[in-house]
Symmetry: D2
Subunit: 239 residues, 4 copies
């Protein structure tokens, strides 16, 4: 399983609070968390790399893509968003983190506006496991807490998830579907809510475990070689 | 649409706190809330009525059944539970309230244990509308509050709902899938969480609106006359 | 309920077989079928009308849009496809017919490739009602037949439908999920398979009934006035 | 993974056609097919064994149970059906074959009547893979054929499947949802349609592969030790 972690990597360059928490970038922390959970073949790329980090050989050599973006969603080219969505449809797994709910690839795959309520006050988030038997919940307790996080609240304008794994409770009074699974074409998508850049969320052991579980769950059995085609089909002779 | 509200009607006879809130019984309050929302053909029955309130002519004359039970689940006969489930499979709507999650008809229709976490401390519940376009959410705000309710927490051991309308936030720190829709056979089932007997939940206008919406949503287009049969079918000649 | 039937309207101008079957255009036949089933507020528009038939006042005055397109999908502007998808997310219903599976608005709302197998030999299609209690199946028999249709076969590369109403059997040996319901944002989408331009499918009474049922099912309770926004939300004071 | 194949094992003792096809019983053929696909820890039990084949130590030592029954559904005790359903809710996988759609454990877990149309004429069944990326479809072609099978037709009175993997086409003109996945409690259920006793279906290599895939898919990550309880929960102190 070849995993690529894509990070916008802008906050870390500009905001000393963020770079203090993630001196190597959020991508490095996410990759370290994956490796700590036994996912070994992990590379990282960023928006400011050539081809926005995902030239065809990298994208086509990725089995599961992890995506973190926030302020620069609009800078991601439509062509790249289309390429990512097309590869998911061929079988690639996609794990979308936090503000990636508003990224071009995710919105394209969902077909909805993907809006949320939010408040960046750094309040307590408690994440409940709704489906304890789900592969993504293995090793995750009945609930776990992040002492300071950005709040996201319902309604989350996404299609009804095919599988709902986690629900968040926020001290400020909101709830959120924080772990949502989708099957799209031949690929699988896992959205996981936590991860605001000003908090050390991706250093949390349970968060890292969930992301690793999500990557494993999204791993494709096989990825189709070429585009899906509308296929003209002759009559089946056996009939 | 002929609606029957079934109530266990035991707490109200034995606990002055409950009878103080619901002097005519919970069934009367639910029925009044339905009528206040334009559902006019409503009758009420209780566990201690003949045939446990649902003799065949009453059950077979019901389009949507509303169910409230708590401490006497075990007294409901298996035969009645089977009859209710069978009629749902033929098309009758079923609206299950609060502790009815543990009633025989609901458990039989779900096929799961239907367990929850709970705490009867009378704390603040805030109910969020997850699917604002759903018929059951019409006229319901983004969220509404019940100042004192029993807490139910996840995991709620039910099948993944076909449609999820509401999520609850509890001040004590839990979340719950509070408005769950199911299609079973030809019938529809709506589970709605609020309604502990020691709090005046069924006098709340929004709660009454939700129940009325749920009853309308669960209304059958048609109810099958007889039992579903495994049908032996001859070849279709036209082929 | 204001219904607009959008038709590409090209085959009818160029192919005498098609114009023989649909002298006023497919849109006229679909609109007549709706009216025959009691849907009275129906207008028709076509691709070659100004603004491709859907200027803002028409689109914004539409509660349910019916879409038929085939050979000119690429001519529909990306802006129009985006506007249609955005309005569905605000609550507008969308009924997509036959080859509209490959239209820009539908593909955008699905997030998948929407490909099928196909064969235009004009063979027998038998359409089975999988969910007889569904509103779209009301008045539709256990199965109905179209003596000559184009075949579409699985895999149909769409997201798992939220509700599956019909399955097709083709004499040539294929099956297809022919009646698929989706909820996207605040809107509802119904895809209905039959309707190849060289066959008189939209003159079939059962087909017309299904489309009318689909339009009624997709009718919004309310359509949001403006775009969904990521909303910054203050803490709820009551806590 | 400890797999137990339960077979009613009555037809094979009484009908020479069946015993000619399955001289060691259907259970032996299913177990052989599992072993041929790398599932090694397989035992077989039958209805006429002590405790109807599933004494507590056997049931509690089973990770995935495969069930074949037909004419003796009523002889299975209600207590055993309840025990099987309870263990599924704790995490055990269940693979239900063919006429097991009408078995007590399956009906109890579905909550519906589970009826079908049928015709035992031994006609061609073609099984289409609707979800080629599903784990249960790995190694299965776009379609495969069984030259002689019993027909099952829609409507299949089960809850909407959580995942639909296969659809059947029958030469006689019917369609059927032949591969249906459910999550119930902590366990997973896979229903697979083919397998009439008078045809050599369980000697077919693709059928065996599907059953083995289904068993692997249904394998639990963990099985809960005790029954699910309605749990009284104190307030979470950290709040």
């Amino acid at each position: 399983m070849r995993v690529t972690v894509w990070n916008e990597y802008r906050h870390e360059k500009q905001n000393p609070v963020v770079s203090g928490i993630y001196p190597e970038g959020i991508h490095a922390a996410v990759a370290a968390g994956l490796r700590a959970n036994g996912v070994t073949d992990v590379r990282t790329v960023t928006l400011d790399d050539p081809d926005q980090g995902l030239p065809p050989d990298v994208l086509n050599g990725t089995d599961v893509l992890v995506w973190w973006g926030h302020r620069a969603h609009d800078e991601v080219s439509d062509a790249l968003a289309a390429a990512v969505a097309a590869r998911v449809n061929l079988g690639m797994g996609l794990v979308v983190l936090h503000s990636g709910h508003f990224s071009k690839p995710f919105k394209r795959l969902m077909g909805t506006e993907c809006t949320v309520r939010w408040r960046a006050d750094g309040e307590l988030e408690r994440i409940w496991t709704v489906d304890p038997a789900h592969p993504i919940a293995q090793g995750v307790p009945a609930y776990f807490e992040l002492p300071r996080e950005e709040m996201y609240g319902e309604p989350f304008e996404v299609p009804p998830p095919d599988e709902l794994v986690f629900l968040s409770w926020f001290k400020g009074g909101e709830v959120f579907r924080s772990g949502c699974c989708y099957r799209r074409g031949r690929g699988r998508i896992f959205y996981f809510r936590p991860g605001h850049e000003t908090f050390p969320t991706y250093h949390d052991a349970t968060v890292c475990k969930v992301i690793a579980n999500g990557v494993r769950w999204a791993r494709p059995a096989v990825i189709e070689a070429g585009p899906m085609l509308n296929v003209k089909m002759p009559p089946i002779e056996a009939i």
